[in-house]
């Protein structure tokens, strides 16, 4: 059964002569537990596609369904609730909140849930333990390295154990050693059952996925299984 489905999605920005078609009529299906990479050059529309799949950007046309729910038919608040429960996001450049320490950043998605404070802390510490940063829980983001910040961003994305993880260039600001560590972490999360949709322009990183999708000029160029799976 398809877990995430994009049906004829199109996204246009601007109006009249300034109109730009970022994504043009894409159909895409992702199975539960699948790890897919979306590749493409800058401006190809891959991040726009990811935003639409993640409920962050409503398409000009078409539908996005997750667990057979048309997510853009949901009201604003319901869609926010849906994102909180079903999705985790890893953004470019980590995007940690600078005035919150590591554990507070990880707890951020739990701030509006009904978990007790004790439970929130337990979940955050568990997430930090999974990424190996439990000992840096009280540091501020600017007191840890870039690789560590990326791992904190991953911990924040998975702290409430969402079934889907969207990652936009998660290794874009990392050196090769840190990139490899992050990719292995994503592989691990995927092996634990999380569906992962990752945007990258690195072929090496893309090959960690089960399937690679290439987007060019807002259209799906091809969808393929990588030649080798890095495990």
């Amino acid at each position: 059964m398809n877990y995430i489905e994009a049906l004829n999605v199109k996204k246009e920005f601007g109006e009249g002569d300034a109109k730009v078609v970022a994504v043009s009529s894409i159909d895409l299906s992702i199975r539960q537990g699948e790890f897919i990479s979306i590749m493409g050059e800058s401006g190809s529309g891959k991040s726009t596609l990811l935003s639409m799949l993640g409920g962050l950007l409503s398409p000009t046309r078409g539908f996005v369904k997750i667990e057979d729910i048309d997510i853009y038919s949901l009201k604003r608040n319901k869609l926010a609730d849906f994102r909180r429960e079903f999705m985790g996001f890893i953004f470019q450049s980590f995007q940690l909140v600078p005035y919150l320490n590591v554990i507070e950043n990880v707890q951020l998605p739990l701030a509006v849930t009904h978990h007790s404070e004790k439970e929130k802390k337990r979940l955050a510490l568990s997430a930090l333990e999974r990424i190996g940063l439990k000992d840096k829980a009280l540091r501020l983001p600017n007191q840890i390295s870039g690789g560590e910040q990326e791992r904190v961003a991953i911990a924040r994305a998975v702290v409430n154990e969402p079934p889907i993880l969207f990652a936009d260039e998660p290794t874009g600001n990392l050196d090769s050693r840190n990139s490899e560590e992050v990719m292995k972490l994503l592989m691990k999360l995927n092996s634990e059952g999380q569906t992962i949709v990752m945007v990258t322009h690195s072929r090496t990183n893309a090959e960690y996925a089960h399937r690679i999708i290439e987007v060019a000029d807002g259209k799906l160029k091809y969808s393929e299984a990588p030649i080798k799976l890095a495990v």
């Binding site: 604003r76 926010a80 909180r84 429960e85 999705m87 953004f91 995007q95 005035y99 507070e104 998605p109």
Partner: protein, 385 residues
């Protein structure tokens, strides 16, 4: 981790901006507190001084006699030989409901006598209350202490060629001039003042009073109500408020209050604009952060709560500090303006009002920025990432 942790941590991080915001609102609140407290204090002082400055209620006999002008004030129907007010009735003045507002009661008896070919109006007064009522009087010599002593006005002393210590015959009684009034520019200059019992004796008005002047402290008291209460108690008298005095006093106070309210409103508006601009700037600066909040599942109301909670905390601090600064400024102003050390007490109603006002302004000024933040599309914010 709760929403308030985010708000508090953000405020802690942005100390300089928070200080600017607090100071912006604090100045407004402090100005309002200082203006209102100073106005209130000055109004009370002014009212007290004005209340001390002569009478504002007159009791004249109920008769339709000749009008007599006294001290530039119209005394209404006053007739020397007709009905008089019973002196016993005056005892009831202190029994009226607003008795606490009555500062001075100065009864008077009028009588005309002839000496050295001149007709002179003599006024019998209780010198203790008369001197308290007419603080502007300057006396050469001393005020009469005995029934046989008199005080004469400046013009009367010249007309009668009566100097200090000279003798004057009034209705076959001999009086000694113990004091002469310096020129007042009023009818007092032509009068001869003697003791109340003495005047009642020589003018054959025992137990009778021609007129009563009353000074009521009435900054916040209804003068018309006091007039009504006095009328009920003194049936033989006609009680009237000296409208031009009362209204003049109230007008002066109201003008002063209106001015300070106007300035306060202006200062608060500027404070509100400072909060609005700063909060709007803050929201724009935090676009990316708000986008992340939204993306990870914060509802619009959650984002509004964070922004408004920050505004609440800043406004609360500004209100509290503003009140204290305002009181300090008032103390300084009053200290500079007054000869005496001002007495200021912490007014809890004003303190609570200041905090409430600051919070109200802070929240109102932050509402639009908070709504703008809450309405921000996560994808718009993510585009800036």
């Amino acid at each position: 981790m709760k929403l308030h942790n985010i708000a508090i941590n953000n405020l802690r991080r942005r100390k300089a901006k928070v200080c600017f915001l607090v100071i912006g609102l604090l100045v407004g609140v402090a100005a309002v507190v200082a203006l209102l407290t100073t106005t209130q204090s000055m109004a009370e002082d002014m009212a007290h001084k004005m209340d001390e400055f002569g009478a504002n209620i007159l009791i004249t006999p109920r008769s339709e006699g000749l009008a007599l002008n006294y001290g530039g004030l119209d005394l209404g129907g006053l007739s020397f030989d007709q009905k008089e007010i019973s002196q016993e009735d005056l005892l009831t003045i202190k029994t009226i409901e607003n008795a606490a507002n009555i500062r001075l009661v100065s009864p008077k008896v009028f009588g005309v006598f002839e000496t050295q070919g001149h007709k002179v109006l003599a006024v019998g007064v209780d010198f203790t209350s008369e001197l308290a009522l007419k603080k502007w009087w300057k006396i050469n010599g001393t005020a009469p202490k005995l029934d046989s002593e008199i005080l004469i006005g400046h013009d009367a002393s010249e007309r009668l060629k009566a100097g200090l210590g000279s003798k004057l015959d009034i209705k076959d009684y001999e009086f000694t001039v113990s004091g002469i009034l310096e020129s007042t520019g009023s009818q007092d200059d032509s009068l001869v003042f003697m003791s109340l019992p003495g005047s009642q004796e020589i003018f054959d008005k025992k137990g009778k009073i021609s007129m009563v002047e009353i000074a009521a402290l009435c900054k916040n008291c209804p003068i018309s109500e006091i007039v009504r209460q006095l009328s009920d108690k003194i049936p033989t008298g006609k009680v009237t408020a000296v409208q031009q005095v009362v209204e003049g006093r109230m007008d002066a106070l109201h003008s002063f209050q209106r001015l300070s309210l106007g300035i306060s409103g202006l200062v608060l508006f500027v404070g509100a604009m400072v909060v609005f601009v700063t909060m709007m700037g803050s929201v724009n600066e935090r676009t990316r952060e708000i986008g992340i909040f939204s993306a990870i599942g914060f509802r619009s109301s959650h984002i509004m709560k964070i922004i408004l909670l920050e505004a609440f905390l800043v406004s609360f601090s500004a209100g509290l500090l503003g009140y204290l600064v305002g009181i300090g400024v008032t103390y300084g102003i009053l200290n500079a303006l007054s000869e005496h050390s001002p007495h200021l007490t912490l007014d809890y109603t004003m303190a609570v009002g200041s905090v409430f006002l600051a919070i109200l302004i802070g929240l109102l000024a932050s509402f639009y920025p908070a709504r703008a933040a809450a309405a921000m599309d996560p994808s718009e914010a993510l585009r800036t990432l």
